[in-house]
């Protein structure tokens, strides 16, 4: 009996240490997503770089979807996917949603909208997650909103002050709603970036319709060769 208890205690300690480790692994995996902003720094006038810009992001997402299909069908063990949450064992992993969100932003949205939304998913999400561990829900919403709003303020600083405030409030609001609203079939890693992007696209179209001046591109492509 003592042996069984000791064994159980050891196992619990091991599992706790793995959980803690996976927690930071997931956070770092999120912040790693900021490297995709390099996409905008790549030159637009070199054929092979243009080819990579066009095909590498969808290739990565297709690869992730394929791996996920194989995992869900049981062809690949879930144990190979370190950092998966328990509820992701039988549904599509959040990393696929994360990648799909970034791909959609890179391909279909202007960079003025895509960049702050990517920052919300890559940095805002883990920061909100950490706030959630230590503070009550109401503080999570307020601080999370302010963090996401800050990303929109930084990237839209060239816009008129009223437009800057409008975009920051709508963007921050969209991101925090995308983060706190949970669905079993749709991950918050997707909604935190796509919901503000959709809301800002509406603002963008209205601004174009009324000939309101919008800020230019945030990141200018580098000149090749570096």
């Amino acid at each position: 009996m003592v042996k069984v208890r000791q064994r159980l205690s050891e196992t619990r300690n091991k599992i706790n240490s793995i959980d803690f480790d996976a927690h930071w692994y997931r956070r770092v995996f999120h912040t790693f997503g900021t490297v995709f902003l390099f996409y905008y720094l790549l030159p637009d006038d070199v054929d092979w770089i243009l080819f990579l810009k066009d095909w590498l992001p969808p290739f990565i997402v297709i690869l992730a979807i394929t791996l996920e299909i194989l995992r869900l069908k049981g062809k690949i063990s879930s144990s190979h996917f370190f950092g998966l949450r328990l509820y992701e064992k039988n549904r599509v992993g959040s990393y696929v949603f994360f990648g799909m969100g970034i791909l959609l932003l890179l391909r279909f949205f202007p960079q003025q909208i895509a960049i702050p939304c990517i920052l919300c998913a890559c940095l805002g999400d883990p920061i909100i997650g950490e706030i959630r561990r230590y503070y009550e829900k109401k503080y999570v919403y307020i601080l999370g909103f302010l963090v996401c709003m800050l990303f929109f303020m930084i990237t839209w600083f060239k816009a008129d002050i009223w437009l800057l405030l409008l975009v920051s409030i709508i963007g921050g609001f969209g991101a925090i709603i995308g983060e706190i609203k949970k669905f079993w079939w749709l991950d918050d890693d997707f909604t935190i970036q796509i919901l503000p992007a959709i809301l800002l696209s509406i603002v963008w179209l209205i601004a174009i319709n009324y000939s309101i001046e919008l800020p230019g591109e945030i990141i200018l492509p580098a000149v090749w060769p570096w």
Binding site: W24, V28, L41, I115, I154, I219
Partner: protein, 87 residues
């Protein structure tokens, strides 16, 4: 005891998980740092050198990328080291 607990109970599987994590760690830590440096470099070469303020945002983004990653890299590397010591 559920399946996942049984899986983790086996020493061999814990080693596998740690190996997978260590394998990806350099990429997860180093690549964002390099991208941040690339942004700051762009600002330095085209912005600061020519007094062009349209590149200032690249400096800000570079700093955000580097510091945003460092904040989470430090506890990640610490936890990795602790786990490796336990193993």
């Amino acid at each position: 005891m559920n399946k996942s607990m049984k899986y983790l109970e086996k020493e061999k599987n814990i080693s596998k998980i740690i190996r997978a994590e260590i394998f990806f760690a350099p990429l997860l830590v180093v690549l964002p740092f390099l991208v941040g440096i690339a942004f700051i470099n762009e600002w330095y070469i085209h912005g600061l050198a020519y007094g062009d303020h349209s590149y200032d945002i690249e400096l800000v983004l570079g700093i955000i990328i580097i510091f945003g990653n460092i904040i989470f890299d430090v506890p990640f590397i610490k936890s990795l080291r602790e786990l490796s010591k336990k193993k």
